[in-house]
């Protein structure tokens, strides 16, 4: 058990330092709540006594919208807008669920391209996560270094599908169109450059002494709590659970490639702290680069669309498809009845579930630690509120 600052303050003076508590409203307009999250924070001096999250400021009735589409394909642009920093992964999750519902098998080349896109997107998303986390810690400079690399990924996406943020690229039964010429060379070049630049930024931020002091042993999420709260993605792995959907519940051809699941080891603090969550993301990017390089090297030829009817009418039933998004398990539960529109779509947003643990891990931390904890959960409010 880690001693919180409150404990230390109490034991060192031998008496309670508790004074009158103060309720402050953090958000929805606050620089470090990553959007429009509102936290009702009860503070005892600088020490957090209780945190009550209030969400829903960005609720756009995604699930209701889906029930009023004219086809299953039409949902995809809406899915993009859920987690707007990792739109490719959202599309991937939705098409995986829909293809499971329709029992469609897609050509091999589609799988490869999807993996390349999803991993590029994971890198782009992690770059934002770590960069903005640096801003939360007061280090502004690494953020722009990370954005420089993200820009290159967005350029790759732009040449593929014309959009930089909301792609509408993966369709049920395939892709909207094939990779452009030169994509493979440019993506390979990106992998080479990225490895170099990542190394220097890693030294600038993640192994900075002040950064370690600020993040190690802060916001510790124990293993059993992480599982009980169904945390997923880097959040779960940083707590020492060796679990990655890409390996343990394979939804596409990830098993063909050689890569490792990154688990938090607690190099500088304890397993499950803020530093580990950040470091899991950092190291995952290396693994993603490995996957991309292998996929690019063995990219098969072939068709990128499977002939499916324009107006898909699945047999009644339901299916739950999930993928490993940058933030964790992103799932779509689709209920179909005999119709061309989905009867019900529920999005299992990883950030929504991960955020629910915040009250548990931020009690007894300092106000500045709370900022670090929010940053380390890596929430995207578009996904939390849907």
């Amino acid at each position: 058990m880690i001693k919180t600052t409150l404990d230390i303050a109490r034991t060192s003076t031998g008496k309670s330092l508790r004074t009158e508590e103060m309720v402050v409203n953090m958000g929805p307009q606050h620089p470090s709540t990553h959007g429009v999250l509102r936290l009702e924070v009860v503070l005892d001096g600088e020490i957090v006594v209780d945190v009550i999250p209030h969400i829903g400021y960005l609720h756009r009735c995604f699930e209701k919208h889906c029930e009023h589409m004219t086809s299953y394909q039409q949902v995809i642009p809406y899915v993009d807008r859920m987690d707007y920093v990792a739109a490719m992964t959202n599309e991937m999750a939705y098409v995986v669920a829909a293809e499971k519902l329709l029992k469609i098998e897609v050509p091999e080349r589609v799988h490869y391209i999807r993996i390349i896109m999803a991993e590029l997107q994971r890198i782009a998303s992690h770059l934002i996560a770590i960069g903005t986390f640096g801003i939360d810690m007061g280090a502004f400079t690494p953020f722009l270094y990370y954005f420089r690399d993200r820009e290159k990924i967005l350029d790759l996406f732009e040449m593929t599908c014309g959009a930089r943020l909301l792609y509408n690229y993966m369709w049920i039964g395939g892709l909207s169109h094939d990779l452009p010429p030169q994509f493979v060379e440019k993506a390979k070049q990106f992998c080479v450059d990225f490895k170099k630049t990542m190394k220097e930024v890693n030294d600038l931020l993640n192994y900075n002494e002040i950064f370690i002091k600020r993040t190690a042993n802060v916001g510790v999420l124990p293993k059993d709590l992480a599982i009980n709260y169904a945390c997923s993605g880097p959040m779960l792995r940083a707590s020492g659970v060796d679990f990655d959907l890409r390996r343990d519940d394979p939804y596409t051809l990830y098993n063909k490639f050689e890569w490792n699941v990154i688990v938090g080891k607690g190099e500088v603090g304890v397993v499950g702290d803020v530093w580990n969550r950040n470091m899991v993301r950092q190291n995952e990017m290396w693994e993603s680069v490995r996957i991309i390089e292998q996929a690019l090297a063995t990219l098969p030829e072939g068709d990128v669309k499977k002939a499916i009817p324009k107006r898909i009418r699945p047999t009644p039933g339901d299916a739950y498809g999930r993928v490993e998004g940058p933030r964790g398990e992103l799932g779509f539960y689709i209920v179909a009845e005999d119709s061309v529109t989905p009867f019900r779509i529920k999005a299992r947003a990883p950030a929504f579930v991960n955020l629910s643990v915040i009250n548990e891990i931020s009690k007894g931390a300092m106000l500045a630690d709370l900022v670090a904890i929010i940053g380390s959960i890596d929430i995207v409010l578009g996904e939390v509120d849907r």
Binding site: V24, D136, G138, A139, T141, L144, L205, K213
Partner: protein
């Protein structure tokens, strides 16, 4: 003509003129530093900063000032109006009056009092009152947090910085800033960081302690001007903007000006204490009253740039870590250094 001379010889008029003189320095200095800071930050971060207004954006600071002047001056309804208006001026006064004892050159010093450096420590603490006032008067919980944090921080860091100054005063034997500079006249070897104007064995044994004292003063001065890694009172990502959240327009500009003025002030103190003030590093070469002003401002700006560099490189500390650094690291080391310097100087 005679009338003008007569007017100038009037002690009150000359005192007012003398008091306004640093303003002639501070205003252009602030414009230049805003520009330097933005450009340095940009180049550290792999970008260009403003390029559109004038050659390489040189007119941008003027545009910024113009914008701030035009902005609506908002006073929150629930704010304590009198204190809210008074606070930024108090902060600026605290910083500005300290400029009185800065010896810009051998020929110019606002007021050459015997207790110069002591006056500086005393008056620059006035800033805390202004910050507390602004935080409280804003009637905003985040601002109050910022104000309380800054009070705790500045008061804590005044102790190691005062001890560091004490060490230098023991070596130079004077509290007057002008005399302290004269003590270091005669080239780079005579600067206090290299033991000052003392016999050789004393110089050599003083150097390690002076370097430690210099680092202590540098760190605590950064904390006193609230800049990263010690920008906890402002802490954009935690406290939005701390004590100046509610300020806009001219009042915000004055806070800004005071911050930059304060930045030069502490850098200038570093220069006076350790790096020979206005003296030329080459002995008599390039020395004299005008060159003195050049050296003083150049050395000061070097430390301003050092501050900017650190600000855009390092993350921010947490409030308890900040206190730890002050009370458990800097203060004991400063005390040890003062003790050692005392022994060396007495022997």
């Amino acid at each position: 003509m005679e009338n003008i001379l007569q007017l100038l010889s009037n002690p009150i008029v000359s005192a007012v003129l003398m008091a306004l003189a640093p303003l002639l320095f501070i205003l252009p200095y602030a414009l230049v530093t805003i520009y330097i800071e933005m450009k340095m930050a940009a180049h550290i971060q792999n970008r260009l900063a403003y390029m559109q207004t004038g050659w390489h954006g040189t007119l941008q600071p003027f545009a910024d000032i113009l914008k701030l002047l035009q902005k609506e001056d908002i006073i929150p309804t629930a704010a304590s109006k009198f204190l809210f208006i008074l606070a930024p001026y108090l902060v600026f006064v605290g910083t500005y009056s300290s400029f009185a004892v800065l010896p810009f050159s051998s020929a110019f010093i606002g007021s050459n009092i015997d207790l110069g450096i002591f006056f500086l420590i005393a008056v620059s603490s006035l800033v805390v009152v202004g910050l507390l006032m602004s935080g409280w008067a804003s009637n905003n919980k985040w601002s109050l947090f910022g104000a309380l944090r800054s009070a705790a921080q500045i008061v804590s860091y005044e102790i190691p910085s005062a001890l560091a100054i004490l060490g230098v005063v023991m070596v130079s034997g004077t509290m007057s800033t002008q005399e302290m500079t004269h003590f270091q006249d005669g080239g780079i070897g005579q600067w206090i960081i290299f033991g000052g104007n003392l016999p050789l064995w004393q110089k050599l044994s003083l150097i390690p302690f002076m370097i430690i004292l210099f680092l202590i003063y540098l760190v605590s001065s950064m904390a006193e001007v609230n800049r990263t890694p010690f920008d906890i009172p402002e802490a954009e990502s935690e406290l939005v903007q701390g004590y100046n959240t509610e300020y806009s327009g001219m009042k915000f500009a004055i806070f800004y000006l005071a911050e930059y003025a304060n930045l030069f002030l502490v850098s200038a103190v570093v220069v006076i204490l350790f790096f020979g003030g206005w003296t030329s590093p080459f002995g008599t070469f390039l020395s004299g009253p005008v060159w003195g002003a050049f050296w003083f401002v150049t050395k000061g700006m070097l430390f301003v740039c050092l501050n900017i560099w650190l600000r855009w490189t390092l993350p921010r500390l947490r409030v308890d870590q900040l206190m730890y650094v002050s009370w458990k690291v800097l203060t004991p080391f400063a005390l040890l250094c003062v003790l050692a310097i005392g022994l060396i100087v007495v022997m």
